[in-house]
Each structure stands twice: as structure tokens, then as C-alpha cells.
């Protein structure tokens, strides 16, 4: 069995997301043109949590989109094939202030792919990045604008963000990689 250490409990996760929600509204000076776009798969429920939080204190809803980045990956021939799922945008992204939401920022390659995927959908006014966990080891000049928690990690560890819709629980854990496989 893999070694596992809890980084965020369900409550801590909720608090982190609520804080991010406040920071997003503050940084954008309101909700005008604001749109949250979750990166599939776990970025999507996280974006919904943030939108719900915003709705609870601003009394207004922010549109939430779902972005599938698999067609834009730079490693399609070197890893097992990911399943492609639809990208769903409730409104156009043209001229919007888009906040990309993902669970973990690691190498930055997912974010790079997400930016490519986003650009093919239109031209947003500004794109920002919100992640629940920043674990370091960035390989691209990419940083997050909103971070739930910074977690120093080694390359032998995996950060697992769990959400009720997909995993049945709400928490973040640090897991020891069982067998070293190329990232």
C-alpha cells in the first residue's frame, strides 16, 4: 500500500476555495465580465465550488465552463491515451476575464495546453489561473494568480485532490508513488 498523508481536510478545502473566491472578486474589482473555466476533470467541480461561494456573498452568479485539454497535450504519443471529453462553455469567452481553475499546478504543461485550447475558443480580455495546490517543479514560465495552498513535494510524491462528484470524498492527500514511472 502507498504511504498517504492528508494535506487538506474537507473543511480546510472549503475555506481555501472560499478565500480564492474572495481574492478573484477583489482582484477583478467585481463580477463584470468574469467567467470561471474548470480544466477537466477535477478543475470543473472546483470551479463550481468557487462560483457557489461567490454567489453566496455577492448574490450573483458567475458563468462556469468546462475545458477539455486532451487534444492540446504535448505528450500524446508518450503516455497512455487520455479520453477526450467535450468542452462546454455556457457563454462565449470573447472579451471576458477568464479564471482558469485546476486542482494542482505541477509542471505547468496542463496550463500551457489549457491556454492553447482557450485561445482556439476566442480572445479573452485577460486570463488568470487559480489552483487548489501549487506543488512546485514548474517546467514552464507559468505561475498561479490564486493558490489554495503551497505544498513542497518531492518528485516521488503525487498530490491527489479528491472531490465528492468523482471520488466520493472531499480532501487533498500526498501519496507516495508506488513505482517510479516517468512523469
Amino acid at each position: 500500500m502507498a504511504e498517504e498523508r492528508l494535506i487538506l481536510t474537507s473543511d480546510e478545502m472549503r475555506r481555501a476555495l472560499t478565500r480564492i473566491a474572495h481574492e478573484i472578486v477583489e482582484s477583478n474589482k467585481g463580477l463584470e465580465g468574469l467567467m470561471l473555466v474548470g480544466v477537466r476533470r477535477r478543475g470543473v467541480p472546483l470551479a463550481r465550488r468557487i462560483a457557489d461561494a461567490i454567489a453566496s456573498f455577492e448574490n450573483a452568479s458567475v458563468p462556469v465552463g468546462a475545458l477539455d485539454i486532451n487534444l492540446y497535450r504535448d505528450d500524446l504519443t508518450s503516455r497512455p491515451q487520455p479520453l477526450v471529453r467535450p468542452t462546454e462553455m455556457p457563454v462565449g469567452i470573447e472579451g471576458k476575464a477568464v479564471v482558469l481553475v485546476d486542482d494542482v499546478l505541477f509542471t505547468g504543461r496542463t496550463v500551457r495546453s489549457a491556454l492553447d485550447a482557450l485561445m482556439d475558443l476566442g480572445r479573452p480580455r485577460i486570463v488568470q489561473l487559480a489552483v487548489l495546490v501549487d506543488r512546485g517543479h514548474h517546467e514552464f514560465p507559468i505561475r498561479a494568480d490564486f493558490v489554495g495552498k503551497n505544498v513542497p513535494t518531492s518528485l516521488d510524491e503525487i498530490v491527489e485532490v479528491r472531490v465528492t462528484e468523482i471520488d466520493g470524498t472531499e480532501e487533498v492527500a500526498l501519496v507516495e508513488r508506488v513505482k517510479a514511472a516517468p512523469a
Partner: protein, 336 residues
């Protein structure tokens, strides 16, 4: 509702990853999971098709050849568009002007193309089994069957399944009628295998001269799984969830297989009256190209139940999903 179904099936498919596949020759070796995963992926591709920038970079640097040894615009263009939207380089070779017409054998043509480091060949051939022949002779190139003789047309069947899933929902326990020239129809054969995998039952309907003999006289073992044959369209269409009308070739009359197109139309055309015997809102499909006013009454073909144009769009989406599946993903190949 659709999005919900997609999300659910995606989760199911992820727990059981479909096997790596090099070729798509027919649907007879596709499991329910594999078809479901492919159709889910096709939904994503369908979304890409509706954007103003209809292009994603995932097949950049891949070379797809289409070798069409039989006239076809629809299928060839569909494959070409699918490849190009995913940024593959697509090279079209047609029967006329190619070495095929100068007497070079199919084998030598294919080996030459493989030596040019193409990744995938999409073949349409008048000869049943031609894609199998290529697949066993090509070590480095995948093969996709775009229709072989009267044998199979798996991508057409996949797009039919996608259209049906859209309009009918899950196909388990559903009743699908395929009417027309079943004997010569590669579409019918592949549809039957796909529908069988998804749990639908199929009724084949048409003149006795255009139904395979072995299905008329059961005994030696059936060439198609779980189909029934009913010559009377009024009876066959009763309570159908979907109706697929096949193209009827005018030549069949000349070959003595049909008394006349007039008689065919009278007995096997999907008319308004017959369509009303199907379930309310039953789906009406045709693989195209359609003879106006023969297989389907004109008023129906352009009416609300008809999804013939959507079939064309779904065709591109399904082929994108297929190309993506065949040309991306590494490492697991060695498992074969």
C-alpha cells in the same frame, strides 16, 4: 440529459480502459465499452466542429492516407476533414490516376505508401476483405476500413450509433429496423454488429432477393447475430425506435433482383403512414446518397423525424474520435 449520460459512461469507461487498437476493420470486435468510449469522445469532437476555429493540434505530424478505389465523395471528405481538424496531414489517393490503375497490385501500392512513413491508411475498396488483406501485410501502418465490398462500413455504423444514441438514448432493448437492400449493404452488416454490442435488437426488412440466403433459411448458423427477418414493412416497423432505410441501386432492377423500382417503392418505401406505426418520434436515418422519393417518402426525408443531415456531421465527429484513438497514445502497443 445528454451531458448526463456522457458523464456517466465516461466514468464507466475509465475504469476499464479499452484495448489499444491498430486497425478498425469492422465493429464485430468492438465491445460495448469501447463503442461507448468512442461515442463519448465523438461528442467532444462534435463540440470542436461547432467552433469558429475548427482545429486542434493533437495529430500534428501524423500522416493519414485515404485510398479510395471506388467513387465516394461523402466518406472521403469526411475522413479528410476529420484528419485536418485534428492537424494531421491528409493525403488523398483515388482510383483514377493512381498506380492502382496502371496495374500495380494493391499490396505493392500499400507497401510503397508504408515506406513513405504514413501512419494510417483509410481504404475504400469494391472488394470485401481488402482492408483485412492490407492489415495483415502492413506492419507499421494502421488500417481503417472506409467500406469494403458488401462486407463492412464500421465508421458509417458508428455515426449511425451516435445519431441513435442522441435521439433514442441508451440502445439497450431498443428495436431498430433496417429496410432495403440488405444483401449488398456493408452498412447494414456493420450496423447490426454495433447495435448488437449495445443491446438493441434488429429487424431486417426487404425483398427476399435482397436478404442474404442464410438469413432466410436458418440452419447452417447465422452470419449476423440476433437479427430477425420480416418482409412486410408494415409489420416490421411496428413499435420501432429507429428506422434505417438503405440505398437501393437502380442496377438491381437490371440484374433481375427487383421487378421494378415502382414495385419496390410501393412495398418498401418508408411512407408517412408506415412511419406512424413506429414509436412516436422514432428516428429515421439513411446512409446516403438517397434516391429522392424511393427509399423514404420526400415529405418524411425532409421532415422533423429525419436526421439525415445530422448523420453527416456526426460522421466527421466519429471519424475524428477514431483517428484520435488510433494515432495517439503510446507504450501500451507492445501488449499485443
Amino acid at each position: 440529459m445528454m451531458a448526463h449520460a456522457t458523464e456517466q459512461s465516461t466514468v464507466a469507461a475509465q475504469t476499464e480502459t479499452p484495448p489499444r487498437r491498430r486497425h478498425v476493420l469492422d465493429l464485430d470486435d468492438f465491445s460495448r465499452n469501447e463503442i461507448t468510449a468512442l461515442l463519448d469522445s465523438a461528442e467532444a469532437m462534435h463540440e470542436l466542429l461547432s467552433r469558429s476555429i475548427k482545429k486542434a493540434p493533437s495529430l500534428r505530424g501524423k500522416v493519414v492516407l485515404t485510398l479510395f478505389l471506388e467513387p465516394s465523395t461523402r466518406t472521403r471528405v469526411s475522413f479528410e476533414q476529420a484528419g485536418k481538424m485534428l492537424s494531421a496531414d491528409v493525403i488523398n489517393i483515388s482510383g483514377s490516376g493512381s498506380s492502382a490503375e496502371k496495374g500495380e497490385s494493391l499490396l505493392n501500392t500499400a507497401l510503397t505508401l508504408q515506406a513513405m512513413h504514413a501512419d494510417l491508411i483509410v481504404i475504400r475498396s469494391p472488394h470485401s476483405g481488402a482492408p483485412y488483406f492490407l492489415a495483415r501485410n502492413l506492419q507499421r501502418m494502421g488500417v481503417v476500413n472506409a467500406g469494403d465490398g458488401r462486407h463492412a462500413h464500421p465508421t458509417q455504423a458508428l455515426l449511425d450509433l451516435m445519431t441513435m444514441r442522441h435521439h433514442v438514448g441508451g440502445l439497450e432493448g431498443k428495436r431498430v429496423v433496417i429496410v432495403g437492400d440488405v444483401l449488398h449493404s456493408r452498412v447494414a452488416r456493420s450496423d447490426v454488429f454495433g447495435l448488437h454490442a449495445l443491446g438493441a435488437s434488429v429487424v431486417l426488412c426487404g425483398p427476399p432477393t435482397l436478404i442474404p440466403l442464410d438469413l432466410l433459411h436458418k440452419g447452417e448458423g447465422d452470419s449476423l447475430p440476433d437479427v430477425s427477418v420480416e418482409h412486410d414493412l408494415d409489420r416490421a416497423i411496428e413499435d420501432a425506435d429507429a428506422v434505417i432505410a438503405l440505398r437501393i441501386q437502380q442496377e438491381r432492377q437490371g440484374a433481375g433482383m427487383l421487378p421494378s423500382m415502382r414495385e419496390y417503392t410501393r412495398r418498401w418505401q418508408v411512407t408517412e403512414a408506415r412511419y406512424r406505426r413506429a414509436k412516436p418520434g422514432a428516428l429515421l436515418m439513411h446512409p446516403g446518397p438517397m434516391n429522392e422519393g424511393v427509399e423514404i417518402a420526400s415529405s418524411l426525408a425532409h421532415g422533423p423525424g429525419s436526421q439525415i443531415e445530422e448523420q453527416v456531421t456526426n460522421g466527421v465527429a466519429v471519424r475524428m474520435a477514431l483517428l484520435y484513438q488510433l494515432l495517439t497514445g503510446g507504450q501500451e502497443e507492445a501488449a499485443e
